[in-house]
Symmetry: C2
Subunit: 139 residues, 2 copies
């Protein structure tokens, strides 16, 4: 009879390897209540189950997509309670999308200014630089 409670759970290092989330960060997520407190071994080491592994992967992906901890809290609450509506999730997502788009637009304006400044520069070895002038003189 194989496959009887083969998986005694994952140690924190295992969780880290599987999700790519730093060990310190995993403990940090626990501290701020983003990840539930796992079981402990007799000696006190954390033992995670598959559910918690899935949740950490969720967090990792959401963070990778730039969702804030606060937003992830909201998404997780919905995903776990299953007392949410798809529309609510859609709202969080499009809200986040809008802020990403704003950030892109503002960075593109920035890019244009920096390119301008760089283009005006003679790259000479003299202490007279249009970039410094720009920063000092323009309103």
């Amino acid at each position: 009879m194989p496959e009887i409670t083969k998986t005694r759970g994952y140690a924190i290092g295992e969780m880290s390897k599987r999700t790519g989330v730093n060990i310190e960060t995993i403990r940090y997520y626990e501290r701020i209540g983003l990840l539930p407190k796992p079981d402990r071994t007799a000696g006190g080491n954390r033992q995670y189950n598959h559910e918690q592994l899935k949740q950490l992967s969720f967090i990792k992906r959401a963070r990778g997509l730039g969702f804030s901890i606060r937003e992830i809290r909201g998404l997780l609450a919905m995903a776990i309670n299953t007392e949410f509506t798809c529309a609510e999730v859609h709202e969080i997502t499009t809200g986040h999308l809008a802020s990403v788009q704003e950030k892109i637009a503002s960075l593109q304006r920035l890019e244009a200014v920096l390119q301008d400044m760089a283009a005006q520069c003679s790259k000479g070895d003299v202490p007279d630089c249009p970039i410094v002038d720009t920063l000092f003189e323009l309103a």
Copy 2:
């Protein structure tokens, strides 16, 4: 005989109004050595001169362009000592430009994913959401 030491200097609030930099932030810049320690009145209030006003404006603009404090330190050191070469300034600027461009590219990839997710969503009032599914299931 007018115009004899008319300008006794700027109080911190005046500096704040003229540059748009928060008062707390001005003191913070002083603390970290980004702005020189100004003169004080007999009572201990800060009194800035025109030079310092210009420098704070410089910092403000550079921050607005996304230069880090560290980068600004470098730019300021060059701008003030005038022992810099234009090429050095150019290097800092193009380095910063490159990092801005990277940030734009990565946000655009993000945007695409978020748009995809949002588009797949039915926006229904059921607890079955492709966005949540995506976050949970995809590698």
